[in-house]
């Protein structure tokens, strides 16, 4: 089967800048994967997200080389509204993404633009709101919702357009722990229940460890690593280079390993860590 996302040596510089914001990026993602992109601020994560639906280079001019193909579309040739039906982008600051007066209109906006029949739009809006747990909020003003609710509305907005791929740029960076948990749970369910391919940018390594099947590390505008989370969280040199702090369970295990304990696999979750450490005591 063809990969659903293909980046081929993508380099892009914003207009009036000398340094590329992303440099020679190549990777492929299969349908149904849950990919996390991590890396320090300014590494180029948001820029990479803009490449998925053609915002780079169609909206931000500037110089791009290489090709991006998503769900059989080419981001040079196909227009953003066409791409938007295959890949949903939730931008970094969800608040700028909400510009309608009611949640209903907000979530319906994309389908209205696609010219879908009225009753289809209403059905899709209801389904999307139910999925993110916001049924009954149709007439609320998006700007009056809590941060976590706004983020879930933003997700519902792209979900209603029924894309195959969802790209989410730091959806929990401004949320409290409960709000974050709810948003991440929605994202995980889009992957597990709806079979959507997820490309998630986040600084929350606990979530990466818990949900991602694969992790890309972007540092200094380059892709420096592509592998399963446990591989990344057990690689001290890599963690330092990309200024990443692994989940605390990993830190504990890495610390124990440093002190000479034999830990073959760095655990990612609390349960795994507990059994690993219990195993140590018995040894």
């Amino acid at each position: 089967m063809e990969p659903i996302i293909q980046f081929n040596s993508v380099t892009y510089s914003y207009p009036r800048t000398d340094v590329p914001a992303i440099r020679d990026i190549s990777f492929e993602v299969d349908a149904g994967e849950f990919v996390a992109l991590i890396g320090p601020t300014g590494a180029g994560k948001s820029t990479l997200c803009y490449c998925f639906n053609g915002s780079v280079p169609q909206l931000f001019s500037g110089a791009m080389t290489g090709t991006v193909e998503v769900a059989g579309c080419n981001t040079y040739q196909d227009e953003i509204p066409v791409l938007a039906q295959h890949v949903g982008l939730v931008v970094q600051n969800a608040r700028t993404q909400l510009f309608n007066v009611t949640v209903l209109q907000e979530v319906g906006f994309g389908c209205e633009n696609l010219g879908l029949p009225r009753n289809v739009i209403l059905e899709r809006v209801q389904a999307a709101l139910a999925f993110v747990g916001l049924s009954g909020h149709e007439e609320r003003e998006p700007s009056a919702l809590s941060g976590g609710q706004q983020q879930r509305v933003a997700i519902a907005c792209v979900l209603a357009m029924d894309p195959d791929v969802l790209v989410l740029d730091e959806p929990t960076s401004e949320l409290d722990p409960i709000g974050s948990e709810q948003v991440m749970e929605v994202i995980a369910r889009m992957n597990s229940e709806l079979g959507k391919t997820i490309f998630l940018v986040t600084h929350d390594m606990e979530f990466v460890a818990k949900y991602a099947t694969r992790t890309l590390v972007l540092s200094d505008h380059r892709l420096i690593k592509d592998g399963p989370p446990e591989e990344i969280f057990s690689n001290n040199a890599l963690l330092d280079e990309a200024r990443i702090r692994p989940p605390q369970v990993c830190e504990v295990s890495l610390g124990l390993r440093k002190r000479g304990y034999l830990i073959p696999h760095i655990p990612l979750t609390m349960n795994e860590a507990v059994s690993t450490i219990k195993g140590l005591n018995h040894a």
Partner: protein, 268 residues
């Protein structure tokens, strides 16, 4: 600041179709420009104020608007009094001042025309809130689209309107930030320092608004804004009997006004 809010207040004018309000507003605009007699414009003003009362909008807003335009009004009045080429001399102020074209006399026509101009400004200034404050932005946008304004243009216009309050709050935040850094001479201080501080306020404001509008652009396109298909509108609007009555009145007023003007009425 006039509260252009997305959730406009509930008033008796809310029930009207956006198109009706837009057309009525344009009619009053045009009539205010067609007539140059203060009596006719006073008539228009009375009409606008009556509507204001019916809409139950706060009178304080009118006061604020007038306060804001007081200086401009005075300038207009003075300029017209001096330079309008009137015939009925009231009294002599000075000898003729040739190079500015002042005859030296204050004329009746000059005063009347000055008053007419100021009234015209007042009508135009206070008729706009009647639409803005009684029409939620989506309804306003829908009205524009139904009046055949291209959707893209209508959307950008209404979104710009809706961003006004956020620009305002931005500027308040930036001003606070500047204050925290010890920049305190917004209110006091000499002209040059004032200019410098204002520039320091504007640069982050403009940059911030620009970045905002760029992400807004991305966010909108990502939701298929501008797709080359016939757009669906969830919001619906229909004319009710009152709409028809107001539209007919507006058309009669407009035709009547233009006819009067052609016949030579309504001018000085």
């Amino acid at each position: 600041m006039i509260g252009i809010s997305s959730g406009a207040r509930r008033t008796p004018l809310n029930g009207l179709d956006g198109r009706t309000k837009l057309i009525a507003l344009l009619t009053i605009f045009i009539l205010a420009l067609v007539f140059s007699s203060p009596y006719y414009i006073l008539g228009l003003l009375a009409l606008v104020l009556t509507t204001w009362a019916i809409a139950r909008l706060p009178w304080k807003l009118i006061k604020d608007i007038l306060k804001f335009f007081l200086i401009i009004a005075v300038i207009i009045l003075v300029v017209q009094i001096f330079f309008y080429p009137g015939e009925t001399n009231l009294f002599r102020l000075s000898g003729p001042i040739g190079f500015i074209g002042f005859s030296g006399y204050i004329t009746l026509e000059g005063i009347m025309f000055g008053i007419a101009m100021v009234l015209r400004l007042v009508v135009i200034m206070i008729v706009a809130p009647l639409l803005v404050l009684t029409t939620p932005l989506p309804e306003f946008m829908l009205a524009l689209v139904k009046l055949k304004v291209p959707y893209r243009f209508a959307f950008i216009m209404t979104t710009a309107l809706s961003l006004l309050p956020s620009i305002q709050s931005h500027s308040a935040i930036i001003q606070q930030a500047q204050l925290c850094r010890g920049i305190t001479d917004f209110e006091t201080g000499r002209l040059l320092t004032k200019l410098r501080t204002t520039a320091g306020l504007l640069v982050p404001l403009i940059l911030g608004t620009f970045r905002d509008s760029q992400t807004l652009d991305v966010a909108m396109s990502s939701r298929a804004f501008g797709a080359p298909v016939k757009r669906t509108f969830l919001l619906e609007s229909h004319f009710c009997p009152t709409d028809y009555i107001i539209l007919i009145l507006a058309i009669l007023f407009l035709l009547g006004g233009v006819a009067l003007r052609v016949l030579g009425y309504g001018t000085l």
